[in-house]
Symmetry: C2
Subunit: 477 residues, 2 copies
């Protein structure tokens, strides 16, 4: 007799069959009703025990968290809230969970408390729902790209190039940390390190993805990236997953079209395939927000918000238009911004982005054509000589979720830019080769996966949407 999953049983029409099932006790009421969960679904199956027929000592071990093997008959449920239940004929406790010691009891635990128990928090409904949504979003991403003719490309994680300059990096080394070998002039001799040079953890796979796009046409990465920044905020991780599509022959408009279609598609897939989990997370968010003042509550319930994103066009606004809006908006005039907007060219802070997205437009916004000076060297210079073909997608409650651009494909202009920034051309020899041989317009973007999961689950802290978060002073588990 094979073990069924609870998900299968709950939708089974095959009543009166004898089944065996294994799972963990969520609750045990009245010495009679065991709510059993096996992770295949948010729901539990009710297992009805005729306690006169079972050993008292055995039933004492049926505590929250215990692992059970149950044999019984699938019958129509007498109670409400479920269609089927199990009449238990045999019960085995595979693993106990002493209620005096087991921390995940059926009561409300704070998210902070659960973060300390990241190996057990997945046993709560909230985290199981989040991680199933995370898994479904991952699949939706692979599925979208495959259906649209992209090849998945594994960018290197350890990199000897630090030219991208997207942030501070972690060094990867096997040198003796206390007594590293030194060169004659007293510097650390990285020639003796594992890779024969100084190496770091990647901050982006984009440059390598460009090499692949310029041969395979459309590629994407989906892998871990790293920032050694000392940011202890609810939106930053030292280790996070990023998706970076890169497309030959795409200009910025095509890039924006793709990014919007992509986000809508993966959210739509998740709405279809994670209905129960999303309903649970919506309710969780409503409960959480009850204790907050009205102004801090979400405008829409979670599922309505996700549908809103799927059904509405993202608003496309140039940086220059955005600056006009911000210069003349009330909070700027009333000096309510921490960083007042005075002139064209300043970088936007999250307070400005939030104003645009949450107050002015009240929908996802794509900002494009940023000043060259505040953007990366590889972005394509516009005819005006001062803006670049960059775009950021800003989401309500999340801020920047996508950053992308059309890449500078003209060798001479790219070389000039590199020189201006004082980057050594030799560092980028292979990247320049892509412009030397068969260059063509191409574009791409990066999407921070955890920010998408934050948005899709309605959670507030990025540490709660990745299994084992890495942040300053924290690499437990």
């Amino acid at each position: 007799m094979r073990s069924a999953t609870i998900k299968e049983l709950l939708s089974s029409k095959n009543l009166l069959q004898e089944i065996t099932i294994k799972g963990w006790v969520r609750t045990f009421r009245s010495n009679r009703f065991i709510a059993l969960n096996d992770g295949s679904t948010l729901n539990t199956i009710q297992c009805v025990v005729d306690f006169e027929n079972f050993d008292e000592e055995l039933l004492k071990k049926v505590n929250t968290g215990a692992a059970l093997k149950i044999t019984g008959t699938l019958v129509e449920s007498q109670g409400k809230g479920q269609s089927v239940e199990i009449q238990v004929s045999a019960l085995e406790v595979l693993g106990i969970a002493d209620p005096e010691e087991y921390p995940i009891q059926p009561k409300k635990h704070s998210l902070e408390f659960l973060r300390e128990k990241a190996h057990l928090r997945i046993r709560t409904n909230t985290f199981a729902a989040i991680m199933r949504v995370r898994s479904t979003l991952s699949f939706a991403i692979h599925n979208y790209f495959r259906e649209n003719g992209f090849n998945y490309f594994h960018a290197p994680i350890i990199t000897g190039s630090d030219a991208e300059g997207a942030g501070e990096m972690f060094r990867v080394t096997t040198l003796d940390e206390k007594n590293p070998p030194l060169t004659e002039d007293g510097a650390v001799d990285y020639k003796q390190d594992f890779f024969g040079k100084e190496t770091n953890l990647t901050v982006s796979g984009q440059l390598e993805a460009e090499a692949y796009a310029m041969a395979l046409g459309k590629v994407y990465t989906f892998g871990p990236t790293f920032r050694a920044e000392n940011s202890n905020t609810s939106r930053h991780l030292a280790e996070f997953w990023m998706i970076e599509p890169e497309m030959a022959f795409f200009d910025l408009d095509a890039n924006m079209d793709l990014a919007e279609d992509f986000i809508k598609n993966v959210i739509s897939y998740t709405l279809t395939h994670c209905q129960e989990d999303l309903e649970f997370l919506e309710k969780r968010l409503l409960d959480e927000e009850k204790s907050k003042p009205q102004a801090q509550r979400s405008d829409m319930p979670l599922i309505e918000k996700l549908k809103f994103v799927v059904d509405n066009n993202f608003k496309r606004v140039s940086y220059t238009e955005a600056i006009d809006i911000l210069k003349n908006c009330k909070p700027n005039k009333k000096k309510q911004f921490k960083y007042p907007i005075e002139e064209w060219g300043t970088d936007l802070q999250s307070e400005h982005e939030r104003y645009l997205v949450e107050k002015h437009f009240n929908c996802p916004v794509i900002l494009f054509d940023y000043p060259a000076k505040i953007k990366a060297f590889y972005m394509r210079l516009n005819e005006d000589g001062k803006t670049v073909r960059a775009m950021d997608i800003l989401f309500p409650g999340i801020g920047e979720i996508v950053g992308g651009s059309q890449r500078e494909e003209r060798l001479d202009i790219l070389k000039e830019k590199i020189k201006e920034l004082g980057i050594d051309e030799k560092e980028l020899w292979w990247y320049l080769d892509l412009r030397k041989f068969g260059t063509a317009e191409h574009s791409g973007f990066g999407l921070g996966f955890e920010r998408l999961v934050l948005f899709a689950t309605g959670m507030g802290n990025i540490r709660d949407v990745i299994p084992f978060p890495r942040t300053p002073q924290n690499a437990e588990f």
Copy 2:
């Protein structure tokens, strides 16, 4: 007019339509026939130029590797080998490729030469085919697990735990390499490092996956893992991708069943979806082997070999049976093994595995129930007290492709093992918690993704099946 991909056009029935296409020149024959490729398929589309109508200077720029935009009419092909071709009405050179400088000319390049040009080798048929197969295998893996009720789980890459002991590790740090802060007793003060402790790159996500399996039931990882071993072989990388499924309530037999079904399924998917690429790689391998002595050639052509794996049961053999076979085999008796098999308990070397797989059984082999002493601490001890519920899958030409086990779920036995090995229990506090609270039998395995790609593509060196390989003294690009 939207740009079509060459893959779409080659299967188009819609003749006489005007189309625009962008891609790179593979060859330009007789000043008339351009073979254009855009990475969407192995194949090129023939673009026919009426050279009297085009500027001579323009046509001089149509060299191998140049990027073109072509407008024309899709017509039935006059030549053989393709069904359709393009009558070119307009031609634009987007990016030149100077034949004096461009290294990827239409001639045979050695794989060694191409490794030095990893950013351009993807422009060859061989590497484009390999990487499309790699991408397809990746998707097949995600698809298989999703269809079978698994959740994708992102294991942490940076880890503070070094208890797994699977190999030498890379240190991850932001400390000043030359003058690291020291504690009072002169050791490096890792409390001042980014994570407040010594951290490394993960060698396996298994332990963390176990935590998730014991709540979600079935999970898998698919991410990068690292070994800081100085192995310069054709089968080792310092950075490689690994798939690690972990299943609650699975014993070793169920684990072996899953591993076999999984491998067959993903290879079968790839056979269906990568026919052209596999045919090309099969031909490449035949060509390569022509210069080798008969004994070193493959027994079967590539596609036949893949079908053989899909269609035949893997042979399951216990370690003890395998030792009997090896003890009594000719090469052992004739002292042809470098490491003669003398007694039960010795670890198998690759020469022994190869003998079993390639000579004795001549099919994929699953070895199970290994001596406890040569396997990891977390594997479940058998009743005999000396073997553990481990299994390795060995493939012809590849060696070990999967290593797995049923995990030790009994707290007392696991603690004893940890003590024997001198591991500090505190290091594994959370791993032991999984046995303390709701423990149950569970199993899993790890599959080295690049070894699977090696097998599926018939390539001989693992550096050629990952975009940018990392090996000792090499982290270029």
